[in-house]
């Protein structure tokens, strides 16, 4: 699955995207966050405050309980600040 990171999440993790094979028990966006946190200190720092992390599944905003099975692209980012 393709995972993308933006803004300070990208900086803390040190990459803008990666291709990861997820174990079957990672079924939701929230579970993916918990799984990613175990990948290293950069991930842990990026996801340390879940309230500051937003998610998109296949380019649509998604809640932590969103099912990710079958998705091709999951993105994590801070609350948006455009306009």
């Amino acid at each position: 699955m393709r995972i993308l990171y933006f803004a300070w999440l990208r900086e803390k993790i040190g990459k803008s995207e990666e291709e990861l094979a997820l174990p079957p028990e990672v079924e939701t966006a929230g579970a993916l966050v918990e799984w990613l946190k175990a990948l290293g200190p950069g991930y842990e720092a990026a996801f340390a405050r879940p309230k500051l992390v937003r998610c998109a599944v296949d380019q649509d905003f998604a809640a932590p309980d969103a099912v990710i099975a079958g998705a091709t692209e999951i993105a994590f980012f801070p609350p948006v600040t455009g306009g």
């Binding site: 993308l4 933006f6 803004a7 300070w8 998109a56 380019q59 649509d60 905003f61 993105a75 980012f77 801070p78 609350p79 948006v80 600040t81 455009g82 306009g83």
Partner: protein, 148 residues
């Protein structure tokens, strides 16, 4: 009908407004957001989620079109490194009457602030750099449209 553009280049607001002045239009509302020069700011970096951005803006535009009888609508958002005073975003809505044009313009910019995947990083003259935090006031502005 709607024109949605994400680009690094600047835009010509006059030309964009003129483009919306088609048959039946009696009013065009527009808004331009600029990089506020509040002293100490050297540049503003706009990062966005290429791929999702235009899709997210199209959803916001579709919502505006469902609420007001629009005859045209334009959203242009810049990305990249912008200097103080430069344009960031252009929003305009055209309708037969002013109420719809003005309301839709305000709706579009309020929603853009909370629902389009852009992130601002401020670069200061001092050399420091910092991501802009989301403002609760922006969330409140969007919630107010639920009651409208």
């Amino acid at each position: 009908m709607a024109r949605i553009v994400v680009q690094e280049a600047d835009f010509d607001a006059g030309a964009e407004i003129a483009r919306l002045n088609v048959a039946g239009v009696g009013g065009i509302g527009s808004f331009i957001g600029t990089v506020r020069d509040d002293g100490g700011l050297k540049a503003l970096h706009l990062e966005h989620y290429a791929g999702m951005t235009e899709r997210a803006i199209a959803k916001i535009v579709a919502e505006a079109e469902s609420r007001w009888p629009l005859l045209g609508c334009t959203v242009i958002h810049r990305a990249g490194r912008l200097m103080p005073g430069e344009n960031i975003v252009f929003v305009a809505a055209a309708s037969a009457h002013r109420d719809a044009a003005l309301s839709a313009t305000a709706f579009l910019i309020d929603w853009l602030k909370t629902s389009a995947p852009f992130w601002k990083r401020e670069e200061f003259v001092s050399g420091a750099s910092e991501w802009v935090a989301a403002r609760e006031a922006d969330e409140a502005a969007v919630k107010a449209w639920d009651r409208a």
